[in-house]
């Protein structure tokens, strides 16, 4: 190599010894270059290429068109046809993926709840599709894992259900929505009575309470003039048909008892609910917003994937 490099150079020298060779390029290399030029001409004739004013060269009709189905804001399906671009390509591929996904949605829709839950493969689809639907629609209130938030939204992963945890009840809740209500007792009861009731309610869940106050609270609970038992039942286990809470279990939704360390704090939390009542707890109706097969899938997701179903 050494002998040749001293020969054909341009004669220019940089940095003492850096020289430029004049070795000829192979002739075919030049032809390859011309070919790329020809290719680019063909390319811009076939595909969108040059901007002209507010328009552009559209390319050859049919070579680069993509058809896809788009959905408008109000849910109408519109057939679209446009030139190739990343967005239309994505839309077309999304259509294909939706068609593939539809087979599974249809299968879930056509299968009874219990049989979906038995089928490990269908449940795998419920897990993944349900997670997406849940994240898009339910997670803002119930949190991404369905764990809810005390004082705001019920935990869907535990085994306590205000309006019922069977497939049918969950489906009903999803479709029609729910509204939780409890009247305020601040005008009807004295502060002391409310304290007594709070002690009783806490005692039902096995919390350490002032037993004397709890006993008095028990009397108030059964008192027709106060009327707690009308909704919560004489055994305080609630009534799922009307959405009154089971007060005997260890799960709290509106009173943030778990966050309180001392007995006084817990009593305060329960008192807040009894005093002010509840007009929160609105679960919107999804019947019109989600498709029937989506609601069906979400029902199974809540019942079995989140795992609290009964």
């Amino acid at each position: 190599m050494g002998q040749q490099t001293t020969k054909n150079t341009t004669g220019h020298v940089w940095d003492d010894d850096l020289q430029e060779l004049t070795n000829p390029l192979p002739r075919w290399w030049l032809w390859t270059f011309y070919l790329t030029v020809i290719f680019s001409v063909i390319y811009w004739i076939m595909y969108p290429a040059w901007p002209i004013g507010k328009s552009y060269t559209k390319g050859v009709e049919g070579v680069n068109t993509i058809k896809y189905t788009a959905r408008t804001v109000d849910g109408k399906e519109v057939q679209k046809e446009t030139h190739w671009n990343m967005r239309s390509k994505l839309m077309a591929e999304t259509n294909e993926a939706e068609a593939r996904q539809k087979q599974w949605f249809d299968k879930v829709a056509a299968t009874p709840y219990e049989d979906v839950a038995k089928d490990a493969e269908l449940m795998q689809f419920v897990n993944s599709a349900g997670k997406t639907l849940f994240s898009d629609n339910c997670a803002p209130c119930h949190m991404s894992g369905g764990q809810g938030k005390v004082t705001f939204s019920p935990n869907l992963t535990d085994d306590s259900w205000i309006f019922g945890g069977t497939y049918e009840k969950i489906h009903q809740t999803l479709t029609g929505g729910r509204t939780g209500f409890m009247p305020p007792f601040k005008d009807m009861l004295k502060e002391e009575q409310i304290t007594q009731l709070a002690n009783y309610v806490l005692s039902l869940s096995g919390e350490k309470v002032d037993t004397a106050a709890a006993a008095a609270g028990a009397e108030l609970f059964k008192n027709p003039g106060v009327g707690c038992f009308v909704c919560h039942g004489p055994d305080a286990k609630g009534n799922q048909d009307m959405g009154s809470a089971n007060l005997t279990d260890k799960i709290w939704l509106w009173a943030n008892v778990p966050a309180q360390q001392d007995a006084a704090g817990k009593v305060e939390e329960v008192k807040k609910v009894i005093t002010g009542g509840l007009s929160r707890g609105v679960m919107p109706a999804w019947g019109g917003r989600l498709k029937p097969e989506q609601i069906k899938l979400l029902t199974v997701y809540v019942h079995d994937s989140l795992g609290g179903g009964k």
């Binding site: 390029l25 449940m123 369905g146 535990d158």
Partner: protein, 475 residues
């Protein structure tokens, strides 16, 4: 020195007419050519009994994302085997090149193999080098059209079969062949075969050494791997040129003694080494980037040395250091070098790691992931629930059912929901919901336990995965 006016920017390819030669390097190359062609062209036709796919020994099934290599099934998650394989290939290349130069280029590279094959076709149809040169110079007539045409026809035929064979690694070969000629094969098959036919024909039949000289990067970075001790195909300048240069064996210059007395070296300037070179270079100009290190010039020179009665090895594998040395020794592999040993160690380690990895691959993969949203659930009766996702991959070629149990906590604590049969199809996976409920008192003391997943066909080999349990509010 070239003047400015003589400088041309482009040049036509200078045709190379390779003379055939016999010798140990030629035999070695032919042996490798036969072996490589046999393996490449025959392998897709080897049948192999397979439960889950076509009965083909080597099948890269892109549709189902599985590679079948005899009894080994490679899944997408085994992709790191490929990176290990690439590491081994690269290290092997560095290791070998440091020792004996571009052995890959000269003997194993497919560009070399197919070029060699196509030169053989030319040789068989058009004759030896002088005949081919004559044919090249003569005007186009029937003889030239027939000979050149038929050589290119056969080259195209080999190229086409190369393309078919390549495609046959990706589809069941007999079916592919049938579909291909009846127009029913997949678009990808036609595109692959046409592309490979064209590229093989162009690269091996037309471009030949230009691929090595202008396109392949390896010839350019070889210089990094060559060392003073690397054995390379070299011309012994001192012996060949003497003090008065090479000389033809004319009258008075025939015997070695006569030549040495007049200062001439052993090179009789017959030009054989240039004529047999597939890249058309003169090895006597020293180490050049065009040299693919095929050793054919060694064969050519040795044959000439034998015929004139001089010792062999005027062109030989030798190191730069030895050639320069005042006291040259017999050429030998200089392997006791840090770089060579380092590559050898890296090579052995990675081959060991890959072999171990493939050897200990399992029939099923199990991952148990604790659901962390929420970390735990307090139930109505105060007991604590943790939820898990059990991911089972069935890597066998048969459908399998599994048993999922727990160890370290009561068996009844595990709840798999309504799922009755945990069935995973061949090569597929399954994600399973699992709930574990523990009473308040037990939950507080439980920090971890184990999942046991047992394939029902191999009940004695449970796959055990340890998982954590969170029992309450940090108590």
């Amino acid at each position: 020195m070239a003047t400015e006016s003589e400088v041309h920017l482009y040049q036509k390819r200078i045709p190379i007419f390779v003379r055939s030669v016999e010798g140990k390097f030629r035999s070695f190359k032919t042996g490798i050519l036969v072996l490589a062609y046999t393996v490449f062209f025959a392998l897709p036709w080897v049948q192999w009994n397979r439960a889950s796919s076509a009965d083909q020994a080597i099948l890269f099934d892109l549709m189902s994302k599985r590679f079948y290599i005899f009894d080994l099934v490679v899944y997408p998650q085994d992709i790191f085997w490929l990176s290990m394989l690439l590491f081994i290939a690269a290290t092997l290349l560095f290791f070998v090149t440091g020792l004996v130069g571009r052995a890959w280029c000269g003997y194993f590279c497919f560009q070399t193999l197919w070029t060699d094959m196509f030169m053989l076709i030319e040789h068989m149809i058009q004759g030896e080098r002088p005949a081919r040169m004559r044919l090249y110079k003569q005007p186009w007539n029937v003889e030239k059209i027939l000979k050149v045409g038929s050589s290119h026809f056969f080259m195209l035929l080999v190229s086409f079969w190369t393309g078919i064979t390549f495609a046959a690694y990706f589809a069941y070969a007999p079916q592919l062949l049938h579909d291909f000629f009846t127009g029913q094969a997949a678009d990808a098959a036609y595109i692959t075969v046409i592309t490979l036919t064209i590229t093989t024909y162009v690269a091996g039949g037309i471009a030949r050494e230009q691929i090595c000289n202008y396109i392949c990067p390896y010839s350019r970075f070889q210089s990094v791997m060559y060392e003073q001790d690397t054995l390379a195909v070299s011309y012994d300048t001192r012996r060949g040129e003497g003090t008065a240069g090479r000389a033809l064996p004319k009258e008075g210059l025939r015997a070695r003694e006569e030549r040495q007395a007049k200062g001439h070296g052993d090179c009789i300037d017959c030009g054989f080494c240039v004529q047999v070179c597939p890249t058309g270079i003169d090895i006597r100009n020293g180490l050049q980037y065009q040299c693919i290190s095929c050793g054919l010039c060694i064969d050519a020179c040795n044959n000439i040395m034998d015929s004139v009665g001089f010792p062999r090895g005027l062109i030989r594998y030798d190191s730069e250091r030895n050639l320069k040395s005042e006291t040259p020794t017999r050429p030998h592999l200089e392997w006791k070098r840090l770089k060579v040993l380092g590559y050898a160690v890296a090579l052995l380690l990675m081959i060991g790691a890959l072999t171990y990895n493939i050897g200990t691959r399992s029939d099923a993969e199990v991952r148990v992931e604790k659901i962390r949203q929420p970390l735990f659930v307090k139930l109505a009766d105060g007991s604590v629930r943790n939820r898990y996702q059990v991911h089972i991959v069935n890597k066998t070629e048969l459908e399998e059912t599994y048993k999922v149990e727990v160890r370290g906590i009561p068996a009844s604590a595990l709840d798999l929901g309504a799922v009755t049969t945990i069935r995973v199809r061949a090569g597929k996976d399954l994600l399973l919901n699992a709930k574990v409920d523990l009473p308040e008192e037990t939950a507080e003391h439980t920090h971890e336990f184990e999942f046991m997943v047992t394939p029902n066909s191999a009940p004695k080999e449970p796959i055990v995965r340890k998982v954590g349990f969170i029992g309450g509010e940090g108590k």
